[in-house]
């Protein structure tokens, strides 16, 4: 009986080496893409177009403190097929003073990013107002049921829903640039023993798993 021939010498090692290089290249490419990253949200999901505001109106609602690294806000809007009207967003403190504000002059419906300029402490924010320019109505995504009876008002009159705001960091960043932030966030919302050490240790463990598995495969699958 003829014995099956052995695999070409070092073929497994070659496949593993090419594969690891491919994964590494993809990972580097993936992490090098820049985009505006989230700093938080107002905790309201954009489930439906919950707020419909007429052109020229101002929609206000209660909101919690803004994350300290916020540089822009993002809302989901629908314009009923018309161009986006000018929008101005203001974050106010309890005295009604503007803490951060920004606006856009136009654009298209969908997610709209509004860059913000700070003029106070973001932790003091208690209210947000969105002023809609021109005469066409605007639908804003959020949640239909208000969390409190008078959460949202349009031109001073109570409205049935609340709109959703995502807070963004100021500039587009790659994942490499965001690593210190990820490192910080990794220790939050978990058991107290987690901390800034968690992400680096996990990265080392993942590296150890990969190194161990590749070495093991190269030995076992000869």
């Amino acid at each position: 009986m003829r014995r099956p021939s052995a695999p070409p010498r070092n073929a497994v090692r070659f496949v593993l080496a090419i594969g690891v290089l491919g994964v590494l290249a993809t990972l580097i490419l993936d992490m090098s893409g820049a985009a505006l990253r989230l700093s938080g949200s107002d905790g309201i999901k954009p489930q439906v177009f919950a707020t419909v505001a007429p052109g020229g109106s101002t929609v206000c609602q209660a909101v919690g403190p803004l994350p300290p690294d916020t540089g822009a806000a993002k809302i989901l809007v629908g314009t009923y097929g018309r161009p986006l009207p000018p929008l101005r967003m203001r974050f106010l403190d309890t005295s009604g003073s503007t803490v951060a504000a920004g606006g856009v002059r136009g654009g298209r419906q969908g997610y709209v990013v509004i860059p913000l300029t700070r003029s106070g402490r973001l932790s003091s924010v208690t209210r947000v107002c969105l002023s809609i320019g021109e005469r066409f109505r605007l639908a804003i995504a959020g949640t239909p049921a208000p969390t409190q009876p008078v959460d949202e008002v349009i031109d001073g009159r109570p409205a049935p829903g609340v709109f959703s705001i995502f807070y963004l960091r100021a500039r587009p960043e790659t994942w490499w640039q965001l690593l210190p932030v990820l490192d910080h966030r990794f220790g939050l919302g978990k058991a107290p023993f987690f901390g800034r050490w968690t992400l680096p240790v996990l990265a080392l463990l993942m590296l150890a798993v990969w190194a161990g598995a590749i070495r093991f495969l190269a030995r076992e699958l000869r």
Partner: protein
């Protein structure tokens, strides 16, 4: 302890390496996924906490299912805001974290009222095991306890990988490379790891199922002895006391045990019958005791604590009933293309791809985030050559298959039992609620066969190239797992 040490020392070094790699990988996953973000982890933790605090399973009354501790934790973790939308995040700022940690240090009660939840009608074995890390946790803070309890899930996942390795060793004794390939494909399967990241009873179900496959294969290859019959029974008992889904595997297991018993007839009819009876007694007596405790000491309403009611009740909320015809149509359509004579179209698109393949590639969180679309397209493209290679692997192994045919037949019945059970429960759920039911993870009691499929795909390349393709497959699984981890990090922390 000495026997355990001897057993571990008796394992092949490759098996120990697979176990260790799977364990560390699952521990990493457990630290990446934020608390309660594994599907149904809220309910599984609540069950374990109630059991750890009271020593008995929840009575499933109308009261609260979550303890004040867990309720506050969920509120401060922004749990309900986070799930369901991949753009929403949990705790991202130091201020939010301060509120969370302050509330959790207020000495809130860890005791719930044991109210009904999606997990409470299941047997208590996993939760009893989870009570051990709950008790030995160095802190009584709920998130510390949860983190320690997650290590148990990682251990169970690593145990499953070990069982798959040993199962493949029994089935493919001449191909040691295949044991490693199959086991590591399970170890790095990201949906397996995602479930292993959380406090989730399914992890013990997967282990019990994999060990059952192993015990049956071992007894088939080496002959049924008292120890092996008891082992099969014990694996089944663990499965039955973990989740009632295991009942779906029992017809196939019973067939396998009868086949094993029949092979022993040559050594004496009495001995053969005794061995079959031993396996049945070891499997069923603990389950019977569980049922009696439900009726007596635990007052959980019925023998199975209502554990099969949701999956089997045919009456719909509006007053209609689920007919046999609908049930059969649904079960068929859930896996195969609809036939012209079938009345209803239950699924849009092709469930084989949409639910099962895409689900295996990855639907993470509370089914709220996925890979970019091209990843699923690539998986679809790869499916055809992989299936062709698996078929080729089967043909190449036809000599071994002929020898194993009765065992493989019983594995087929186990698989069919699970597929039918998912469909049977699914049609009732979908017609009652309007929501789809099936998730790819429901197939994970068949992880041993997933490992076997991986080994067969590699074998399809022929003996010469099989280890090379096997290395490529494991690397693909590792890359799949790695990018699932980075996706998860961007979902919750980015």
């Amino acid at each position: 302890m000495r026997r355990l040490r001897t057993a571990i020392a008796g394992l092949p070094a490759a098996a120990r390496a697979c176990f260790l790699l799977a364990l560390v990988n699952a521990v990493v996953w457990g630290a990446i996924v934020p608390p309660f973000q594994v599907p149904d982890e809220t309910s599984h933790f609540a069950y374990a906490q109630y059991l750890a605090e009271t020593g008995k399973p929840p009575p499933q009354g109308p009261g609260a299912a979550y303890s004040p501790q867990e309720s506050y934790a969920l509120q401060d973790l922004l749990f309900s805001q986070t799930i369901g939308d991949p753009n929403m995040r949990g705790v991202l700022t130091t201020a939010q974290n301060r509120v969370l940690q302050r509330d959790l240090s207020r000495g809130l009660s860890p005791l719930s009222e044991g109210g009904a939840s999606p997990a409470t009608n299941q047997p208590p074995l996993y939760y009893a095991l989870a009570a051990v890390p709950y008790w030995i946790s160095p802190s009584h803070q709920i998130l510390t306890r949860l983190a320690i309890m997650r290590l148990l899930s990682a251990l169970l996942a690593a145990g499953t990988v070990l069982a798959v390795f040993l199962f493949l060793r029994e089935l493919l004794p001449g191909s040691p490379w295949a044991w490693t390939v199959g086991a590591l494909m399970v170890a790095f399967q990201p949906m397996v790891d995602f479930i292993a990241a959380g406090v989730q009873g399914d992890n013990l179900l997967y282990l019990a199922s994999a060990v059952t496959f192993l015990a049956l294969a071992r007894a088939y290859r080496r002959g049924l002895t008292r120890a092996r019959a008891a082992g099969i029974g014990a694996a089944c008992a663990v499965g039955l006391l973990t989740k009632l889904t295991f009942l779906a595997l029992t017809p196939g297991i019973a067939l396998a045990v009868l086949i094993l018993g029949r092979r022993e007839l040559a050594t004496g009819r009495r001995r053969a019958v005794g061995l079959v009876a031993l396996a049945a007694v070891v499997a069923l007596v603990p389950f019977g005791v569980y049922g009696l405790l439900n009726l007596t000491a635990w007052h959980r309403g019925s023998f199975l604590a209502g554990g099969t009611v949701g999956a089997t009740a045919s009456t719909l909320p509006g007053g209609g009933v689920v007919t046999l015809h609908e049930t059969l149509d649904y079960i068929w359509e859930q896996y195969l293309p609809r036939l012209p004579f079938m009345h209803r179209r239950f699924f849009a698109g092709t469930p084989l791809i949409n639910i099962w393949l895409n689900g295996l590639v990855g639907r993470f969180g509370w089914l709220d985030y996925s890979f970019p679309g091209w990843v699923y397209t690539l998986a679809k493209v790869l499916l055809i050559p992989f299936l062709a290679l698996a078929l080729s692997g089967l043909l190449r192994a036809r000599g071994a298959i002929r020898r194993l045919l009765p065992l493989l037949l019983s594995f087929g019945v186990m698989t069919l039992g699970l597929l039918v059970a998912i469909g049977y429960a699914g049609v009732r759920y979908q017609l009652s609620t309007g929501y789809p039911f099936a998730q790819a993870r429901y197939l994970f009691p068949l992880l041993a066969l997933y490992g076997l499929l991986g080994a067969l795909v590699a074998r399809g390349a022929g003996r010469r190239w099989a280890p090379v393709l096997g290395a490529g497959l494991v690397l693909l699984a590792m890359a799949h797992g790695l990018f699932a981890e980075t996706l998860t990090i961007s979902r919750y922390y980015g």
